[in-house]
């Protein structure tokens, strides 16, 4: 990944080398993405291992596994008719022996280093065990099912919010960079400190205003209860419930975003080739799209990637405030119920989500960054 990772790129653009294109653009993008995917996979694995180390410092993972074994063994004993005639002590001893066997079979008497590798394999394959208290809507207590069920709402919420934020920021930043120093530019710069408060915080104010006082939008949730039967009704209800969270999310991030991106645009609009284009008499739109927006995009995507990562990890609180039935609120519920397998499983899933976010943005980056697309040099 080295220097071309979007998360550490310096302003690009100037160093576009007219390279004799032997390999096709597509192949270069594939190769670049492959390398990124591999490095990310290694990064995630190390990240998961660290998570396991942190979770295991108090021996919680062991406790979970032991409880699971005990439950399995006792269920098996209770269901076996041949053992029903045994005395209580004999049965207890039998269950002890079986548990010991299982502990040995699963390697739980091995040193921690070896076992932690086993946990790592479980985490990577999403074999996350069973929840103590929580269940999925279908009634299963498998952590993987609980998490998979909560994933779509979270994706819908943050997907919608990120799209709205991205396009609003980019249009506002472009408009302000053209009107540098004018009234709206100054107002928007003065509003930057508003971004010091996180989205959930604006959520509280918006709920107060639109739900409690004006009573025009719902307090929270994802759809009306009961959900509307038709697809259109469902969609409209979803939109209504999305309005406040998306607004809160946008409000908390947009001013800082506009400020940063406007600065990027200003840097690029003072480049010599922009002056050249102006001198050639190109239309303002052409200059903006081809000479300013295009070379700035990689930098902007970098800044957006960092922002998305921060907002992903804020999901637990954001979804809790808006009562959104996603991953974040599941984590909040798991904390309330002290459901350790779910808490660990959620942490693992968030690691994966962060990595996937980084990867998807890398792909987008590969398509918009001229160094990857044209030269292939910049990406090494």
């Amino acid at each position: 990944m080295a220097t071309s990772s979007p998360l550490e790129s310096a302003p690009a653009g100037q160093e576009v080398k007219p390279k004799s294109g032997r390999t096709s653009t597509f192949l270069r993008v594939v190769r670049y993405s492959g390398v990124r995917l591999l490095t990310l996979a290694i990064t995630v694995t190390i990240g998961l291992y660290l998570t396991i180390l942190i979770a295991n410092m108090g021996g919680y993972v062991d406790k979970i596994r032991l409880a699971q074994i005990r439950e399995d063994v006792n269920a098996r004993l209770a269901g076996s008719p041949s053992l029903r005639t045994l005395s209580a002590e004999a049965r207890a001893k039998c269950s002890q022996d079986l548990i010991q066997n299982q502990v040995h079979r699963l390697g739980m008497d091995q040193p921690f280093v070896l076992r932690s590798l086993g946990f790592l394999k479980d985490a990577v394959t999403l074999n996350l065990g069973r929840a103590f208290h929580m269940t999925s809507n279908s009634g299963s207590n498998t952590v993987r099912l609980i998490i998979l069920e909560r994933l779509p709402p979270t994706l819908v919420l943050f997907g919608a919010a990120d799209i709205v934020l991205f396009f609003m920021s980019i249009f506002a930043a472009l408009a302000l960079s053209r009107n540098y120093g004018k009234f709206f530019d100054k107002v928007s710069v003065a509003m930057t400190p508003l971004s010091s408060a996180p989205g959930w915080f604006y959520g509280i104010f918006l709920i107060l205003l639109f739900a409690s006082v004006l009573k025009v939008l719902p307090f929270g949730g994802m759809v009306d209860s009961p959900p509307p039967p038709t697809a259109i009704g469902y969609f409209l209800s979803l939109l209504k419930h999305l309005t406040l969270p998306v607004l809160a999310y946008t409000l908390s991030l947009i001013f800082l975003n506009i400020f940063t991106w406007r600065t990027f645009f200003l840097i690029y609009s003072s480049e010599d080739y922009v002056e050249m284009a102006k001198a050639k008499g190109l239309s303002a739109n052409d200059i903006q799209n081809r000479y300013i927006l295009r070379p700035t995009l990689p930098t902007i995507i970098t800044s957006f990637a960092l922002l998305m990562i921060v907002s992903w990890t804020g999901a637990p609180i954001f979804e809790t405030i808006f009562n959104w039935p996603g991953l974040g609120r599941a984590l909040y519920q798991a904390v309330g119920l002290f459901d350790t397998p779910v808490i660990i499983g959620e942490t693992v899933i968030f690691s994966f989500l962060l990595a996937i976010t980084v990867f998807v943005l890398d792909l987008v980056y590969a398509f918009v960054d001229p160094r990857v697309k044209v030269g292939g040099e910049g990406s090494q």
Partner: protein
């Protein structure tokens, strides 16, 4: 760093406002720590009945009345020791007949929230027996109830079903103050009411006293919560905690990032690559979920969480910003000069390179403070706040858990939120202002 540049900062009125707010917050924090000692704050916030019984539940702050034409009631408390209370005592049988008449002047435009009478008695064998009656300003008398009072006894009028039936199906706090002719009236009758307590005791030394509390709908400068606790305690104590958490976390993370970035750039090569890789791993570590995990599994203590926050942020994105500047600093002539006279690497990093970045560091760490203040509140709302400490986040958590927005108890949510907002804005306005002064080339494009 040009200190005379500091004067320039006062050209920005918002920055002056920010500085004043920060000074005010620090002042409040210092005042709080001395006025309500730590142990007292914690025991108050644990909220025993004895501390808070005189407060109504979920009452708005008293200043709400300044903005209202119809005045909401404040709490009225009268003990039988009050000079306005008349006490008559006559011998009766082996004991005494004791009668109290407690006048209650009620001049508000809304009904009280509840009416309770707290009795304390002393006796040797048989507890005193009392009968209560309520006299309206027009002189109409309603018998309330008769009972015997053990050592401590509390009569809560709103929970007395018999009385509610007698008042025609409305609870005592409304029925006792309503106009008997006009059942539909939404306003209480103003004037002086009387509570009459007629008691008999059964041995010569026996006695009893009472405290009448007519709970209002307003209490204190900050209002109260569902456990009758005065929110003022938590709002005040939240200030030093928020400032301490924000300051320590911001200083801890930005200083460590600065040192790591300096070392990374100076040594370069393998060290640099390693540090860059660790930063990338740190990026995919889910910060808040990991904090939640640590909070749930190990400890809710604010210091454990604070250490975890700093540890998880050491390899944060700040390193990249600092590194970019260090790369320029590393090439500057004065570093070459230091090298040529034989300065050691640690000396160059710590004495020549790092101080050079202080102007960049200060604004950045001031801008970081609100992030951590809000993080502390977030953790509290997720139920991972320090269990003993009263903080702003805890108030928001309580209000959310009790549906404050749904019930219309807006003050409960707004007070801590506005404080959080003011703190966040003040620090970031000052941070951005300092940034403009210290690093004009970096910002003013």
């Amino acid at each position: 760093m040009n200190l005379s540049g500091l004067k320039e900062i006062f050209r920005y009125p918002t920055v002056i406002a920010g500085v004043l707010i920060i000074l005010a917050l620090v002042g409040i924090a210092i005042y709080t720590v001395f006025a309500i000692p730590y142990a007292e704050a914690i025991s108050l916030w644990r909220g025993s009945e004895a501390d808070w019984y005189q407060n109504p539940k979920n009452a708005a702050p008293v200043w709400v009345n300044w903005f209202r034409a119809d005045k909401l009631p404040e709490t009225i408390r009268i003990t039988t020791n009050d000079p306005a209370v008349t006490k008559t005592e006559k011998p009766a049988g082996e004991g005494k007949a004791i009668a109290y008449t407690i006048p209650v002047t009620y001049e508000f435009d809304d009904f009280p929230d509840d009416v309770s009478i707290y009795f304390t008695s002393k006796y040797t064998q048989k507890p005193p027996f009392v009968g209560l009656s309520w006299v309206s300003p027009e002189g109409k008398e309603i018998r309330l109830v008769n009972f015997s009072i053990s050592n401590k006894y509390t009569y809560r009028a709103n929970q007395d079903q018999k009385l509610t039936r007698k008042l025609g199906g409305v609870v005592a706090s409304q029925g006792l103050f309503a106009d008997p002719q006009d059942k539909d009236s939404t306003e209480p009758v103003k004037g002086t009411y009387q509570l009459k307590i007629d008691g008999v005791t059964f041995d010569p030394s026996a006695d009893f006293s009472a405290e009448l509390v007519v709970y209002g709908k307003l209490a204190g400068w900050a209002g109260t919560d569902h456990l009758r606790r005065d929110l003022g305690v938590a709002l005040l104590w939240g200030t030093p905690i928020a400032l301490m958490f924000g300051l320590l976390a911001a200083v801890g993370t930005s200083l460590s990032q600065l040192v790591i970035a300096g070392v990374s750039t100076w040594y370069g090569g393998g060290v640099d690559t390693l540090i860059q890789r660790i930063t990338e791993i740190n990026l995919v570590l889910p910060f808040l979920p990991l904090l939640i995990m640590i909070g749930t599994f190990y400890s809710h203590s604010i210091f454990v969480i604070l250490s975890a926050v700093i540890l998880l942020s050491i390899f944060g994105q700040g390193i990249k910003t600092f590194r970019a500047v260090f790369l320029q600093v590393k090439e500057s002539p004065y570093i070459e000069a230091a090298r040529s006279y034989g300065a050691s690497s640690p000396r160059i990093v710590f004495v020549y390179m790092i101080p050079r970045l202080i102007p960049l560091l200060i604004p950045q760490f001031i801008v970081l403070i609100p992030t951590y203040v809000f993080l502390e509140a977030s953790l509290a709302i997720l139920g991972l706040g320090d269990p003993t400490l009263p903080t702003w986040g805890k108030i928001i958590q309580d209000s959310q858990a009790n549906g404050a927005l749904f019930q219309g108890w807006y003050y409960w949510v707004l007070e801590p939120s506005v404080l959080l907002m003011i703190t966040g804005l003040a620090f970031s306005v000052v941070g951005y202002g300092l940034d403009r002064v210290f690093n004009p080339r970096l910002r003013e494009q």
